[in-house]
Symmetry: C2
Subunit: 415 residues, 2 copies
């Protein structure tokens, strides 16, 4: 069962969680002085509108018309009830998911790529630089840049660049330029942290260029709240009041924030972050100020971190291989408003295959983390004989990650 | 702009074009005797229900409930107006497309894979065999078999098996077994015709198995008419009466038949088949009885054909590399009710990239043929200052065909 909204029902404002946080966020610090950052420190990298959103205390922020026009190419996305999965599990729980895989780039990432491209274009920027690991974010920014007539330069973690040629080809089809990172060491497999360094260095050194980040920052999570806002409307159409639990996989926190932040004010709703055991930022990291990148070029953010020099093992959910986490998500976990759990990848792929063979679509490995947790919630509900309502974010499809399934199915996966 | 129908608005009967054809179809002939085929000749390969649909003269045929339940996982599919493409072309034409890429397998193929799996399951068949070239059909049958608990054995053209590992992995994720074809010559690159021979031979030799075909036959096109039936409802919602022209790419004829057959009775509506110049069945073939496969195991069908031993060049639109064509499509072209045009692949990929950079999604190379024709119709409308209404079938996405775009963008494509 699916609940579609009409393009006319698309939310016209984002939800700002700032007024609802248990405690105000600590400010980011300047990487050189370690003093609180001012807007002028960010101006070489970001447009004024995004810097304002980063610190806004307004409860909602209006979505510009040209952004809505592009989002309507695929939004509102469907809310789906996974009845075939429920039947296979024999659970009394009702499992709903928000299908973000229907975007042109195949994930939730365009929800922020589009407004970021728009605000940069509106301020006269001609070129955006960014990094990408698994390729979901780079694809999204390449897509958005193409639609707003911006040049797009993507630094792609070298290991992914070599192993995932389809992701590079997709970005190039939208007209982006893609280089393997680190650019100064062709023998290094790279990491998200070092690719951020490459992209920031490029943008900081050119008048015509800005930098664009696909997760972690407040404005990114703000743009993603359209997911949860739509889900609230659709759950009502489905005859539900509020979900008992909202689940999202968590790398930097953008898809999780997108679906869960609009539920923060709803006290009875449990919020759950799911991460890989091999990169356990929220479940085993420390809460501290840390850099967002390896080279220490970015501001210091207050967050759970494994240390900015942490190099996660090469698991298949590349989008979850990040040493840090969004300050908003970190603050919710620290305050106890959000739970965090971690899974090994074999359990995750088991869930991904079960989903594919019941509901039909193949999820991204990142998304399969959320599915694993949703299945375990549904099995717990069965155990306890409870009619639990579960909502998770189907953040992306796995069509460009099939080699990970191939490894799983042929016993080449390591935990 | 998009028009969604609710899952409750899904058509509950297929449209049978047989009563509306300009002339009755000539019967298929037995490959051995060359006498008209009886139902008993097909019983070793197909379930009774499908054999009955193959020769039915009823105007509509009811869709079974369990088939509707599965189709509702992604149907009704959206009707989209390509306003950004229209703007880029500066055309007064209104371009609509039916987005069949949203299915779990990424194309229109599951529309017939699901009922075929259902009818076989209902008759006690345990295992289906089939062939696949580009991989779209094999993926669809693997998906449908998974949902109905059938084993699925796919013979994949060896060249594709080696060049497109993601397609194999996708089928295996749904639990299918995939072998490169021809099975008896590991050095041969294979062809669709020889893979059909492998699959038919397998099914004919086993009690528990039937064979399944993804195009050409009447019952396949019947199942695909749900596309055109939905499009008619949606065009009305969009405020249009009838389209001036309906366009589909054509290999065996299933996506073209799906969108166009419900418009056959509407005399003013032009119907257009688009094929590759390198495999010009409708535009340069002869109308004659011919085999569907290389080995001559299948019945002889009355159709346009390039000869069953024709080996098309290795173009990227693998789904259009077939020597023959659906008897229904052939009959419409022969009678002048349908037009046929052919394009070289460079013109096709130019259209695919223009679509990706305006509308955002990357089309399958097969689908890009229809887009090329839609763009040329829109440019002709501009030339003539006409408000033409164009409808085409967006039969599938190109996410597993990105190496074709890579070749195009890096000048490695040959016409």
């Amino acid at each position: 069962m699916r609940w579609n909204l009409s393009p006319d029902d698309l939310p016209t404002a984002w939800f700002n969680v700032a007024p609802h946080l248990p405690a105000p966020l600590e400010p980011p610090l300047h990487p050189g002085t370690r003093e609180p950052l001012g807007p002028e420190d960010l101006a070489p990298l970001f447009p004024v509108a995004l810097i304002a959103q980063e610190v806004s205390a307004e409860p909602t922020i209006e979505i510009p018309g040209p952004v809505l026009d592009v989002l309507r190419l695929w939004r509102p996305t469907p809310l789906v009830r996974a009845t075939r999965l429920e039947e296979a599990l024999g659970t009394p729980a009702r499992i709903y998911f928000k299908d973000e895989s229907v975007s042109p780039a195949g994930s939730h990432k365009p929800n922020t790529a589009v407004p970021q491209a728009y605000y940069n274009k509106a301020e006269g920027v001609e070129r955006l630089t960014t990094e990408t690991g698994a390729g979901q974010w780079g694809s999204a920014l390449a897509f958005a840049s193409s639609l707003f007539g911006l040049e797009c330069m993507v630094y792609m973690v070298r290991a992914s660049y070599e192993q995932k040629p389809y992701r590079r080809m997709l970005m190039e089809t939208w007209g982006a330029r893609v280089l393997p990172s680190p650019v100064d060491d062709a023998t290094h497999p790279g990491s998200l942290g070092s690719a951020i360094s490459d992209a920031v260095r490029d943008a900081a050194g050119r008048e015509d260029s800005h930098y664009s980040l696909g997760s972690v920052l407040n404005h990114v999570l703000l743009h993603q709240t359209i997911i949860g806002l739509e889900a609230k409307q659709q759950l009502e159409l489905a005859g539900e009041r509020l979900p008992d639990v909202v689940i999202g996989s968590c790398g930097g926190g953008s898809n999780l924030g997108g679906i869960s932040l609009p539920f923060v004010p709803d006290a009875g709703v449990r919020l759950v972050a799911v991460e890989p055991e091999s990169c356990p930022t929220l479940t085993a990291g420390r809460f501290d100020y840390d850099f967002g990148d390896t080279a220490g070029l970015t501001p210091l953010l207050p967050m759970y971190t494994l240390g900015h020099d942490f190099v996660p093992p090469p698991i298949h959910a590349g989008g979850l291989r990040y040493h840090g986490d969004s300050p908003i998500i970190s603050s919710l976990v620290k305050a106890g408003r959000m739970e965090a759990i971690a899974y090994p990848q074999s359990k995750v792929f088991e869930a991904g295959v079960q989903f594919a063979r019941t509901q039909g679509t193949v999820p991204a490995p990142e998304t399969a983390h959320a599915i694993r947790a949703a299945i375990d919630e549904a099995l717990a509900a069965k155990e306890q004989g409870e009619e639990r309502v579960i909502l998770f974010n189907y953040s992306g499809h796995g069509l460009l990650d099939l080699s990970a399934y191939d490894d799983y199915l042929h016993d080449r996966l390591m935990d």
